[in-house]
Structure formats: structure tokens, C-alpha cells
Symmetry: none
Subunit: 256 residues, 2 copies
DNA sequence: CCAGATGTGATTGTTTCTGTCGTTTTCATA
DNA sequence: TATGAAAACGACAGAAACAATCACATCTGG
């Protein structure tokens, strides 16, 4: 049983009862109280719960805490990509993020970054990112409106574009389904592509974050041509050939 | 039982009675009078109550509890309220929901309701509700944009109002911090009150959902006068006297 | 197979909380 | 104003919870 399983179990218990004592948790999960204390502290650090003397209380108004400790595919690559991308953000910046697993990981990394402790702003159309980071006091979360799309948690449609037209971003991080030198960035869903297109058009700088398996692929709906992309942050597995072609097209490639 | 639980209980007793003696509190919570005195002093320091010799009295307006005190309160009442409120929604309706624990419970109830299996639409400014219900295929989720407020997960500000102006609702369910016959509905935070005000102004029918402890209370910022409220769904503990006064004011009261 | 990193449990000293007890302050009444 | 009872305060002690540390087990990549 990994630590993440235990964390999930703790959050599960906590969401049922509203509060949980160190002793109870230790018995329920069959570990020592020292471990539970460590877990509580770490979860509290992530704003998942509130520490009290002798236990912990549920933090948010939502009973159903997000189950964020899944063991995902390419987790390691995504994490490295996120760390490298986070370094591009100066304190106080206004950052745009669309939906996707890589951008979600990036959002977490940004929220826990030491250099950004003084605060910054995230503008996003991804519900999961917004819901997860809302509890962090030093991050201002601005959400586009719109209709929620179940598969990706992204908000799309005219309401989303209406809000995006009213904001300006320092840098937009774009998670994509596919990135091709000729076609540019693309997504599976035309509604997402449309909103993502508008998101990057509001940004002074456009950074695509994608693991190397996405590069060279094409998806149904085009987001933007390759020329609008300033930077690509990907993992080290990207071939030198693809890297060269992207660089020739004017994209700065960072292989984390 | 942690100190925060005790503080919760003290504030709970205090809001019911209006005043509370050291001796009463010590008996009710089964701790020494010394502890109660310490608690009273600490709560007074946080402006949660006013100290008197031998006891404490409630503040005139209720403040937003700091997050750390909050535990799942009145879970059972909230569930019954949610079930009763859900019966007011016909299939295919467009339903507005603001943030709060009661409306969150209502959202879950609506999503699992058998009579609504054919589908309906939720318009909300509550991130937690949106994030939780997005996965349900038969519910269309429309989210207002805006800036996320950590304490309540509500989206507020001009971006939120901009989106709300573009929609029309069949029925709006309003979770409130306080409901008073003279003052109407009110919230702790002026930004929330403003958005909530707009939400109900877009609705053909306005239903307030609140457990009985909220009725007769007043909070900082007014949402709307009592005349704009069509129905109140609350729990069975609401006194006949308060029920009568609300009915006289034109509000249909449902005690679940 | 080893070196290093990570996670867990036990031990030990430290902090925090709470109740008791004695003293001081406050308030009502004579 | 004096007085006595109730309330509040301050100091102390015991208990519970916590933090720091160390030792051991497990895992991982070379």
C-alpha cells in the first residue's frame, strides 16, 4: 500500500466524518500514529485538510474531495515537464492554463513553487484546476465561464470566449492532444480548440506543454498554427529530428 | 473533542440562546469553568462573541467563521432539506445554484434523482458543485466565470455577473448565511451577495434552502428583500412563530 | 550486488492543553 | 462605604499530543 493510497483513504474517512483523530486513523489504516501525523501534516501543507491538535478536520465545503493521488501514466515525465515549465513564470505573473493532465500537474507545481510564494494569478477554463487551487490563498484564480465538458473538465462555448475576451495574459500554457510541425497544435474536440485558440491569442507568450508522444501527431480540430507557439516544453524522449524541425519553425524547445 | 469542536458548540449554543453563562457552557460541554473562560476570552478576541461577567452574549451580526472551525454541521438536516427541495424541480428544468454546503448537497441529490434522469441544466457559480457534477452525462453544467473565493468556492466579481446577465433560469436555489423577515436574505461576503442577487433576479422562481439555525439571523451583506423569495425549504426545527411570520411575509415555508 | 534514497516505527524530550487551588477583583446590597 | 459571595485570574501539575532523532526495512538504479 503506497503512501498515496493511504492519503486517499484518509481523505475518504475525513470526508465521511468531517473530522478524524490521529488515533482513529492509525487504527483504521494499521500504521503508527507517527506516520499518520506525518500524513496529516503533508496533506495540510497541500490544503487538503486542516490540522487540529489530536486530529484533523475536513477543509473544504465539498464533502467529495478530489481524488488527486492517482498513479497516472507518464507521471514522471509530466512532472519534469511541469517543473521546467514553472520556471518560466515570474512572481506576480498572470498565467493562462487550459485543461489536461499536464497542465493540471503544472498548476500544482506552480501553486507549491517557492519563487511564486508572493502570489500570482491563474486564468483557466479547467474546472479541476480551479477547484483544486482555490484553497491556496496566494493564488488568485480566475475562471472562464462556459459549459463543462465531462471528458476533460474544460469549460467551452460562447460564455467562455466572452470572458476570455476581457482578460490579458502574460503567458499561456497550452496542453494539447497533438502537435505537428505543419498543422500546429490541435485537439480532439472542436469546442476546446476554439476556446484554446482564444486563450493563446490573449497571451503575450505561448508555451505548449506536452509529453513527447504527442509531438508529430495530429488531432481533429486545429487550435493554432505552429507560428503562434513560442516555446514547447516536453520530455527528453523527443527525437533530435523532431526537435530540429520544430526549432526551424521558430519554436524554442525545452527537453526536461 | 478538539478545541475547535468546543468553540463550534459554544457558538452554536450562543446563536440559539443569544447569551450563555460560563456555568451553563461548562456543564453542557463537560469541561471546567476555567476552560470555558479561556474559550470565551479567545473567541471574544476574535470578535465572535462579547464577554460579560459570568458569561457571554452573541454579536449582533454573525461573522464568517474562520475556516478552521468549520466541520460538517447539520449534515442530516441538510440532506432532508435537499431531498425536499429537489422535488420542486421538473425534468428538463434550468436550475440555478449558488455556493454553500446545503446547495452542494442539493446538487448531489438532483444529480442522482430518478425523475431527472432524462436530463436538466445547472447554472452555478460554485466551483465545487461544477467540478463534482461535471462527470454526470445527463446534467448540463453551465459555470459563471469569475474570481474564486477560497472560503466558499464561489465565483464572484464582474466576470461572474457578466455571464449571469446572459442566462435565464426556471428556478434558483439560494443557500444563504442568514435569513431574516425584515432584512431578507444576507451573506457574509459582499461579493457573494452581489452575485447571488443577480442570480435570483434571472430566475422565474426563487427558493431559499437553509437549515433552521440560519433563520432569524443577520449577516453582513444583503442579498435581497424577503419579497423576492417565493419559497423557503428548511428543517423541522424551525419554530412555528418564525414560520408564521415568514408565511405572513409571503414566503411559502416547507419544513422537511 | 551495492550505495543511496525513501518510508516507517520507536524513543525521548518538548510543547500544549486542561483542571485544581488559592488569591484577587467585581458587583450587589446593606 | 463596607461586606460577602460570585466571578475572574494566576500559577502549577498531570496528561496528551507533538517534534526530532535514530534505527531498520524496502526500493531503485547503476
Amino acid at each position: 500500500m503506497s503512501r498515496y493510497d493511504r492519503w486517499n483513504a484518509i481523505l475518504e474517512l475525513l470526508s465521511q466524518e468531517g473530522r478524524l483523530s490521529v488515533e482513529e486513523a492509525a487504527q483504521a489504516l494499521d500504521v503508527s500514529t507517527a506516520t499518520i501525523r506525518r500524513d496529516f501534516d503533508q496533506l495540510a501543507q497541500q490544503q487538503m485538510l486542516m490540522r487540529t491538535r489530536g486530529g484533523a478536520v475536513a477543509q473544504s465545503v465539498s464533502y467529495d474531495l478530489p481524488l488527486r493521488y492517482k498513479t497516472a501514466r507518464h507521471a514522471d515525465e509530466k512532472h519534469r515537464i511541469a517543473v521546467a515549465a514553472a520556471e518560466l513564470v515570474p512572481p506576480g505573473a498572470i498565467v493562462g492554463l487550459n485543461g489536461g493532465t499536464t497542465t493540471s500537474e503544472l498548476a500544482r507545481t506552480l501553486a507549491t513553487s517557492a519563487t511564486l510564494e508572493s502570489g500570482f494569478t491563474i486564468v483557466t477554463n479547467a474546472l479541476n484546476i480551479a477547484a483544486e487551487l482555490t484553497v491556496r490563498q496566494h493564488v488568485k484564480i480566475v475562471v472562464t465561464g462556459g459549459v463543462a465538458r465531462p471528458q476533460s473538465y474544460e469549460l467551452i462555448g460562447p460564455l467562455a470566449t466572452g470572458v476570455l475576451e476581457q482578460v490579458t495574459l502574460d503567458v499561456a500554457f497550452l496542453g494539447v492532444d497533438a502537435l505537428d510541425v505543419e498543422l500546429g497544435a490541435s485537439a480532439h474536440h472542436e469546442g476546446e480548440a476554439s476556446v484554446n485558440h482564444l486563450l493563446i491569442s490573449r497571451a503575450a507568450q505561448v508555451v505548449v506543454v506536452a509529453d513527447s508522444s504527442k509531438v508529430g501527431q495530429r488531432a481533429f480540430s486545429r487550435i493554432c498554427p505552429i507560428g503562434q507557439i513560442d516555446t514547447l516544453v516536453t520530455d527528453g524522449r523527443l527525437s533530435d529530428e523532431l526537435t530540429g524541425r520544430l526549432t526551424d519553425a521558430g519554436v524554442k524547445v525545452i527537453r526536461a
